[in-house]
């Protein structure tokens, strides 16, 4: 009996000291280690996105069989927890050699010294400008594709209601758009004729709604020094934007919380006009055929604007062999590889050479219009490390405005929070 007790005590002490030792050890093993011994790891947010993951895996397999110095390993994470995983890895010094990054987050990660400037053997001038992540004069990331925003409608519906089909040379003006919405609302077929995806909280809000703000002449932040949003996000132009967004809701043109799948609602004629991403084009086209009208976004004064910048690739500071990582990225940017990913994801290929290989995006193809949208009117989200903060404040403010909050007061509060955040971070300058 006593022996049993002694044994229990010894075992308990052993177990606790083991836990303590483990806890004490964890932080001390920091330091970049990926990339050693000819092995290199890539992290991607594509877990659960089968098509894109398979396309990237095919590039990795192609690279691995093309040479025998480096073996590349691909690890996929679900998108929702991807950023957190990278941040946690950086905090414990365990970053993989290559990560993918949502375009607007590049300056933040570059500022935090997660990323190292790219040094590739391919000419990046060929890429759409919105597929490059540039901050402080250095290129930190490059993407295979971009996405574009567009207005989808049925040609038959537009015609029946006497609405002109917008073109790239002549997009809808604000007056024309409001008039079109009034006609569609009066038609009575649709409770809310326009769907701008208000139910899609997250990066969609800044991606889709800040271009509308920019088309009015406002912006998220002043773009010379990136130090303040004062007068830009709460100036008269921004107020005009906010009041217009609010009127869309109060006039019943949009639902304050749209359905789970905007494209599906549009295809099922629940809504008449969908303001959505180019990735919905293929499905919409399959469902509607020739009746589908793909139109540029509306010109609210300063010309049509759409968001730019999607997922891109960068090399981290935690990589022990950056040359190998750069070599892989250079390989992966061949037109064939870019085209394969663009086909798998129904996105806009980053280069002309790749576009020629993707059905629909070749000169005169029915998807080539998106490449034009992207080249003509893409505005990058502000390239500042403050962006993740600005995005949350803008999302919150836009939601409040759509739900009937006081436009000027809401914008002023957002500006105050953004400016306070920038100040408390010493202006996000690189010391």
């Amino acid at each position: 009996m006593r022996h049993a007790k002694k044994r229990l005590i010894v075992a308990s002490l052993l177990a606790t000291s083991l836990v303590a030792a483990l806890a004490g050890c964890a932080p001390s093993t920091a330091g970049g280690s990926d990339g050693q011994n000819g092995e290199l790891t890539i992290w991607t947010h594509n877990g659960g996105n089968t098509e894109e993951l398979a396309a990237v895996q095919a590039i990795v397999d192609g690279y691995n069989s093309s040479q025998d110095e480096t073996t590349v390993k691909l690890q996929a994470f679900p998108q929702a927890s991807y950023n957190d995983s990278v941040i946690a890895a950086a905090a414990s010094g365990k970053l993989p050699c290559i990560v993918d990054i949502d375009g607007p987050n590049v300056p933040n990660w570059a500022w935090a010294k997660y990323l190292t400037p790219l040094d590739l053997s391919v000419d990046l001038d060929e890429n759409l400008p919105s597929t490059l992540g540039i901050w402080n004069g250095e290129t930190y990331s490059v993407g295979y594709y971009d996405v574009a925003l567009a207005m989808f409608a049925r040609k038959s519906v537009l015609e029946a209601n006497g609405i002109r089909q917008a073109t790239i040379d002549q997009p809808w003006t604000q007056a024309e758009f409001d008039d079109a919405l009034a006609k569609l609302k009066a038609d009575g077929t649709w409770a809310n004729p326009l769907d701008i995806g208000t139910g899609d909280v997250g990066e969609w809000y800044p991606y889709a709604f800040s271009p509308l703000l920019q088309s009015f002449g406002g912006d998220l932040i002043e773009r010379d020094e990136y130090q303040s949003a004062e007068g830009v996000l709460n100036g008269p132009e921004a107020l005009e934007w906010a009041e217009w967004m609010q009127s869309l809701a109060t006039d019943g043109y949009i639902a304050t919380k749209s359905g789970a799948d905007s494209a599906l609602d549009f295809q099922n004629n629940v809504t008449a006009i969908q303001y959505g991403g180019s990735w919905a084009a293929a499905q919409n086209s399959a469902a509607l055929g020739d009746d589908l009208a793909v139109m540029p976004s509306v010109d609210l004064g300063e010309g049509t604007k759409i968001g730019g910048g999607s997922w891109q690739w960068g090399v981290t500071t935690g990589c022990a062999n950056p040359e190998a990582a750069m070599d892989y990225l250079s390989y992966s940017l061949s037109p064939e590889n870019i085209a394969a990913v663009a086909v798998a994801t129904a996105t806009i290929p980053a280069t002309d050479a790749a576009a020629a290989l993707v059905p629909g995006f070749e000169e005169g193809g029915d998807l080539a219009i998106f490449r034009e949208f992207s080249a003509n009117s893409a505005v990058l989200r502000p390239e500042t490390p403050a962006y993740p903060f600005i995005a949350t404040e803008f999302t919150k403010a836009t939601q409040d405005i759509i739900n009937g909050g006081d436009p000027q007061g809401t914008l002023d509060a957002a500006v105050k929070a953004i400016d306070a955040n920038i100040t408390s971070n010493g202006g996000y300058t690189q010391k």
């Binding site: 006593r2 007790k5 229990l8 005590i9 308990s12 002490l13 177990a15 606790t16 836990v19 303590a20 806890a23 957190d84 941040i87 950086a90 933040n108 990660w109 500022w111 935090a112 010294k113 997660y114 909280v201 304050t256 919380k257 993740p388 903060f389 949350t392 404040e393 939601q399 409040d400 739900n403 009937g404 909050g405 509060a413 306070a420 955040n421 408390s424 971070n425 010493g426 690189q430 010391k431």
Partner: protein
Amino acid sequence: MTTTIERPPAAPAAAGPARPRRPKRDRTSKTENLAGLAMLTPAVLLLALFIFVPAILAFGLAFTNARLISPYPAVFVGLDNFVRLFADAAFFRALINVGYFAVVVVPLQAGLALVMAILVNKKVRGTTFFRTVYFLPVVTSMVVVSLLWLFMYRQDGLINVIIDRVTMGLVTGPDWLNDTTTSMPAIILMSVWQGVGFHMIIWLSGLQTIPADLYEAADLDGVSPWQRFRYITWPGLSATRSLILVTITIQALSLFTQISVMTQGGPLNSTTTVVYEAVESGFAQQETGYASAISLVFFVIVLLISVVQRFLSREKA
């Protein structure tokens, strides 16, 4: 009343030390102490590692400009975070929302749980079935429950369809979670439904500690059901009562999961809560220092409320 119930089991234990064989007992108590310590250490260590250390860290971080992502070390900024916090309208809205939630949920959930506990404590056939049914939502994950109710609360969801059918189309239900007047009540209703089973079980365990002979004696005296509840059941539940009061209050004040899944604090801050604000600023906005300040203020508020509750529900000497 409680003292008379507790006395019998206490008596033999008190009689124990009077026995002889003193030296033997001392040695046993020493090894027992050692064994107790050894068994205590892992729990204390884990608690320290995952509760006390982070809590102390948060207290310190609240006075710095620490960030989730930053190339620079955190700098001491004094009361800066607290000055910002007390000027933040959303934070006060969060406090009001949490207060509203707690004031409605605590009596509602505790009362409903007691009624259900008394019902399932009846010696009739099928009580096990009802106990299981009432307890089912508790073992279901809150995230799953929130997602299901999210669909039920939609403009064209189950609840509005039922309202429409029952009233023959006379009443059209609101867009529950997307309307500033109905969003919080909708969350409250769902939360009570999910949590009530757990407190029913606690009440039930309290009810079953009340000796049956007290009820038998009451029956012989011919008391009414109300008198039986008022003078036997209610006093017999005094210990359970303060446990339930404190646990529901703390649970209600730290409202988070439902908000995060269903409304994200909206519309117009009508459902934002203190914990939700802390998580948002700590992770989405990356402001660790500011989030720590929110947590610190929240900690003080919960502590104060718990102390007041303990004081009010203390055993009167």
